[in-house]
């Protein structure tokens, strides 16, 4: 770590420079401070999530009560897309597409990593800021512009992209096939390209910061599991997002310049197209080469947050710290060689399918290790139920409940009857969507004092958790039954023909839970903005945590620590260690003579 002193010197220098009053613009808008950028990511993501959530409410209204008129639909979609209060079928597909895109990319990738990697990496490794504040700022602004481009596609003539969030060609390539594949699709592709630039700038920055700017004593095996999770997430993103760009650029070429990467033998709109020799399956391979690691890009930061929140609030060391690191690494590695399980029935060679069955089911092993380790961490703990802790426990539940149905879907033979049905929708919303959202909420409640120096209101937090958690299961659990009955996903209505008429009650129940759950999020939004300004002021280390962020003063000082950087002497999980006066020992406390570090690993 030769260059460490040098960097620190440079930052001290920068720190000194910043004593002059910063203008509003450099401090809050074009800021290079990781804490401000984290807040910018968070607030942008909260806004995007609300848009995505309202969209889901609209299509849940249609699915629960098909053909019925709703004032809200006409109010939000206007006369063109919501005539007489009924969603137009093309708009329905656009809503599910943009809902998925926003939730996966803008909330759970940009929002989750952007907020917590930015906030916690410098804090928890003991750095004054990210390795490159400038790239970090660019990362946010690419994210912001990308969000604006995505939202702008809602207001154009043909409507936004509507080929599903995976935008499979030829549907996404041909405006003749669906109106959303006109300008809306172009904007989608531009937006995602900008988004990937943001993700790459962020990811490279996180990796470099973790490898180079750890403070003295912060060895890799003394890093909190949050940082480990952010590190592996960033590596996954840097390796897989460029592949998405290539998929997107080739699609753009097919659409705009008449190439045939994905198109062949197509007759549509009364004419045979010129393109020949391409394969739509190629797109799927490229897309899922990102798409599957993406699942873990979304999930790992949430699991990292859960590790930290559960250990702190159970007042116990995380059980099996090294096994947790090992399983993060194993999951990260395996996530690159399982993408084919999305493609069992595309006509892919069955033998190749078998290989993907094998690799996919292997992921269950590190996942099981993680689940058991969380539970053992709770066992004989002294559990403090802060709102964050509730969300973290909720995450473990959804991770397991959603994870086990993955065993069915990963098994190619069993995938056949449930592929692309509501079984899949239930599975991935619980294991990936809910787990990551609950993890993100846990993070917001837990680190709100570091983000905004205040606490969120606990009572509203409790209410928010229970309503969210109950409604979330109420929405997604019954979907497995719909799927096993054979109901396909992305159907505008299940009653175009009678086969599924007896299942309409399930959809009414799901939609009811969805609406209550959506309303409950306004408790959070209110609590969030109210607490930024009026929440009770937080003390320095409100949860009695061990990690370095709780040693910083309760002020947003540039450079994080006013004096020298802290020195680390121990792992971050010395909670309730025998022979200690307090039930926590911060990482900056030197080891006593004969004391073993790292829980004796």
């Amino acid at each position: 770590m030769d260059n460490h002193g040098h960097t620190e010197h440079a930052l001290e220098h920068a720190h000194a420079d910043h004593h002059h009053e910063e203008s509003f613009i450099t401090k809050y808008i074009f800021s290079m401070d990781h804490k401000v950028i984290a807040r910018q990511f968070l607030i942008t993501a909260v806004f995007m999530a609300l848009v995505g959530m309202v969209m889901s409410t609209l299509f849940r209204l249609q699915l629960g009560w098909p053909g019925q008129k709703f004032w809200l639909i006409e109010f939000l979609l206007g006369d063109k897309w919501g005539k007489d209060g009924i969603v137009d079928p093309n708009m329905y597909l656009a809503l599910v597409t943009i809902h998925g895109t926003i939730m996966v990319f803008f909330l759970l990738t940009g929002g989750l990593s952007g907020t917590f990697s930015n906030l916690l990496i410098p804090y928890q490794v003991g750095a004054r800021d990210m390795a490159s504040g400038f790239l970090n700022m660019l990362s946010f602004w690419f994210f912001f512009v990308s969000s604006v481009v995505m939202l702008s596609s809602l207001f154009i003539e043909g409507g936004p992209a509507s080929a599903g969030w995976t935008v499979y060609p030829p549907l996404s390539a041909l405006p003749q096939a669906i109106p959303g594949s006109g300008l809306g699709m172009t904007l989608w592709l531009v937006s995602i390209t900008l988004f990937v630039i943001s993700a790459l700038l962020g990811g490279l920055n996180y990796i470099i910061t973790i490898f180079n700017l750890r403070t003295k004593g912060m060895s890799m095996t003394r890093m909190p599991l949050t940082v480990w999770a952010f590190l592996v997430t960033a590596i996954l993103g840097v390796l897989s997002f460029p592949v998405l760009v290539s998929a997107v650029v080739l699609l753009l070429m097919d659409r705009s310049f008449g190439t045939s990467f994905y198109l062949s033998d197509i007759y549509i709109g009364g004419q045979a197209l010129e393109q020949s020799g391409g394969s739509p399956i190629l797109y799927q391979h490229l897309f899922w080469f990102l798409g599957h690691p993406e699942v873990y890009i979304v999930l790992l930061p949430a699991l990292g947050i859960a590790s930290e929140v559960i250990s702190t609030n159970a007042r116990k060391p995380i059980f099996g710290y090294r096994a947790m690191i090992g399983s993060i690494l194993a999951i990260g590695f395996l996530s690159f060689i399982v993408w084919g399980h999305h493609m069992f029935i595309t006509g892919m060679n069955p033998f190749l399918g078998s290989v993907f069955v094998f690799t996919t089911l292997l992921i269950a092993i590190p996942s099981a290790v993680k689940a058991f380790n969380y539970i053992t961490t709770l066992w004989k703990g002294n559990i403090k139920f802060t709102p964050a802790m509730l969300f973290a426990i909720g995450l473990v539940s959804t991770f397991v409940t959603g994870g086990v149905t993955g065993i069915i879907l990963a098994d190619s033979a069993l995938d056949v009857p449930v592929h692309d049905t509501y079984f899949v929708v239930g599975h991935f919303h619980i294991v990936m969507g809910l787990s990551a959202v609950l993890g993100m909420f846990a993070g917001v409640y837990h680190w709100f004092p570091k983000l905004f120096l205040r606490h969120m209101n606990k009572k509203m937090g409790y209410l928010h958790f229970w309503l969210t958690f109950i409604c979330a299961y109420g929405v997604f659990f019954p979907m497995h039954f719909l799927g096993l009955a054979g109901v396909p996903r992305r159907y505008y209505t299940n009653s175009a023909f009678p086969m599924f008429d007896h299942l309409v009650n399930i959809n009414v129940m799901i939609s009811t839970f969805a609406i209550i759950g959506a309303l409950a999020q306004f408790i959070f939004v209110f609590n969030f903005f109210y607490s930024i300004f009026r929440g009770t002021k937080s003390e320095k280390n409100p949860w009695h945590g061990n990690t370095l962020e709780w040693t910083t003063p309760m002020a947003h000082t540039h450079g994080n620590w006013p004096g020298a950087l802290p020195v680390v002497y121990r792992w971050p999980y010395d909670y309730s260690k025998p022979g200690k006066q307090l039930d926590y020992v911060p990482q900056t406390v030197p080891l006593e003579e004969g004391e073993v570090d790292g829980g004796g690993h």
């Binding site: 499979y168 197509i266 045979a272 069955p350 069915i408 409790y462 039954f481 396909p488 309730s576």
Partner: protein, 337 residues
């Protein structure tokens, strides 16, 4: 007007919260600090949730057990269902046990004024157990799954009936290979109003091909191989009752095969199907819709455009005699022309 109302509502709620806060400050409570009372209450909530969650699960299983996995009407479908239930059983055990432990421990170990946590950083034996046990269980799952997968995907037998399923926005067309058991060539460039499949009329194999819209007939007990094509976007040929599904991809031919084991007539007489149809018809009668009669269906199961949700075709499973009689009535495509 609406916006003004929303803004006013937010202000009102904010003031209300402020009043409560001031009130509790007057009483000398730090209203926002998490207390032992909270730990106890939330711990109990965890337990209550566990009970409610498990009841919700059982209630759904009881209520929907007849709707899920409708009667399998193909030979491999029965074996596949057995495997499905076997795996479902396994994952249900994992689901119940882990959720029980999670919420029960959360309840049991909520913080009391005098409680202390046990320092337990790791235990190699335990960790080895929950690495090895899942690995063994997964090995069983993988072996059974791949055996089934090989059965489903092995090449169709030579005497299978070959039927092309041709997808376009938003309907299915079926083409039977006819007496020569070979489908004639087709090419998307030959598509026109009268030749929606682009069949090559110069290919001798096309002579006896039979093109069918609206309803597809197959005989019970004989293997059927579907050759699947699409002429515009990706569709997916999904027949839930036969437990088969395969994408229709423009530019390539995919295939799937199965042997139907129950005729449409027999299905309509099965008690579980009668019960289901009765339920559906009660709902339809309330809405003033026509009564429904059971039919096997071919659905589209890959998002393909505005009418994706209404792209289906009836599949009729006949006795061999009925099938032959039906087939004899069909005119070859070229004769129709």
């Amino acid at each position: 007007m609406i916006y003004a109302a929303i803004v006013l509502l937010i202000i009102a709620v904010a003031q209300l919260v402020r009043v409560f806060e001031l009130a509790s400050e007057l009483k000398g409570e730090k209203s926002n600090e998490v207390t032992y009372k909270d730990h106890r209450n939330q711990g109990r909530m965890m337990f209550a949730f566990l009970i409610a969650f498990m009841l919700f699960f059982v209630w759904q299983v009881v209520k929907y057990k007849d709707a899920i996995l409708p009667v399998a009407a193909s030979v491999h479908g029965k074996d596949l269902d057995w495997l499905m239930w076997f795996n479902m059983g396994l994952i249900t055990i994992v689901f119940v046990v882990i959720n029980f432990l999670l919420f029960y421990f959360s309840y049991k170990y909520y913080s009391r004024p005098d409680s202390q946590a046990t320092y337990l950083p790791h235990n190699n034996k335990l960790e080895l157990i929950w690495t090895v046990v899942p690995a063994i269980v997964l090995a069983v799952i993988i072996i059974l799954g791949l055996k089934m997968w090989n059965t489903i995907t092995e090449p169709a037998s030579k005497d299978a009936i070959v039927i092309q399923l041709y997808a376009k926005q938003f309907d299915w067309t079926a083409r039977y290979a006819g007496k020569d058991s070979t489908l004639g060539h087709s090419n998307f460039k030959l598509i026109d109003g009268a030749n929606a499949l682009g069949i090559d009329t110069l290919d001798p194999h096309s002579m006896d091909d039979i093109v069918v819209h609206g309803e597809l007939h197959i005989p019970v007990g004989r293997q059927v191989e579907f050759k699947i094509n699409s002429r515009d976007v990706i569709h997916s040929a999904f027949m839930p009752h036969f437990r088969i599904q395969m994408n229709a991809v423009p530019g390539m031919t995919t295939s799937m095969h199965m042997t139907p084991s129950i005729t449409t007539e027999e299905m309509r007489k099965r008690p579980e199907v009668i019960a289901q149809v009765k339920m559906i018809n009660e709902i339809r009668a309330k809405k003033g819709e026509d009564p429904y009669e059971f039919n096997f269906l071919l659905l589209c199961n890959k998002i393909c455009g505005a009418s994706h949700s209404n792209m289906q075709m009836n599949v009729v499973v006949d006795t061999p005699e009925q099938y032959e009689a039906w087939l004899a009535k069909q005119k070859p495509f070229l004769a129709k022309k």
